[in-house]
Symmetry: C2
DNA sequence: TTTATTGCAAAATGTTTGCATAGCC
DNA sequence: GGCTATGCAAACATTTTGCAATAAA
């Protein structure tokens, strides 16, 4: 069951959008709600299906728009794995992704600062990177995503 | 100028293909030659354009086929960055990729074993990964790819 | 001669765009 | 009223597929 946004989450949305002169709309609330409700890295299409449960009239184009907007204002991250469709993730803490070969599921893996540091250290002088994407691909015995 | 395959490279191709009952064809030689000649992580389309210089009649579908075959037998790696088209890379040593924000160019970054180890160490028990993909995104002052 | 590969065209996929309509300070 | 967002349909780019013709071992 998809819950409504908490007051806190609504403010978070409001603030992030407001910063760049963008508006809170029912569609954006719906999409954001969906993203927070089940943090299983849904594809656009999955977000669309879920959003329609909350708001039956919402269009796919709008879901694309909302997600793009959210990425733009830093509310969610895109997750890409090979040629698969883009997935979305509201976990803003630094983390890596693990894609299960068998189930296709994507899990978040915590990324300690010292590992990030060791990664940055391999960059030759003159290379400066803000974004590091790390993704594992393999088998997970765990049946479910760790809570996140 | 695109060189011909060296004897050594042709044997490498022959062996990798032969292992899985696949044949050496002029098209595969052409595509492989192109990949080795300029290691700048070309897209399928770029490989196609270059391959046509060597073999004017070659088709796009065949270039797709060749690349898929090469990936399948471990001759090249696919490199994906966000929604951009897939790029191909004949560097088989463990390495990360750095994509320059400004030029779009992709550079190989050497990946020391101890960094790989530290990355593996962040996986919770039960998670087992053969493949780790690491990509940086940022600015490179260096004008050109380091030789590779 | 057998089996794999090619090349073409058509289809599928995922995403983006243009634009008229609608909604919000 | 002016700006932004929505929803639809059409356009797009990339990749995949089916299949008859061709070429490699």
């Amino acid at each position: 069951m998809i819950q409504n946004l908490t007051e806190h989450d609504r403010e978070h949305l409001q603030e992030a959008l407001g910063k760049s002169g963008q508006k809170v709309t029912p569609q954006r609330e719906a999409v954001f709600t969906v993203l927070l409700a089940e943090r299983d890295h849904p594809t656009v299409d999955e977000v669309f299906q879920r959003a329609r449960e909350v708001m039956p009239g919402v269009s796919l184009a709008t879901v694309y728009n909302c997600l793009e907007t959210f990425v733009g204002c830093g509310l969610v991250r895109q997750v890409n794995h090979e040629r698969e469709s883009t997935r979305y993730c509201p976990n803003l803490a630094p983390h890596a992704h693990f894609r299960d070969k068998e189930t296709g599921r994507v899990h978040d893996i915590e990324l300690p600062p010292e590992v990030i540091k060791s990664l940055r250290s391999i960059l030759p002088p003159g290379f400066d990177s803000e974004v590091i994407e790390i993704s594992f691909h393999g088998r997970a015995q765990a049946k479910d995503s760790p809570a996140n």
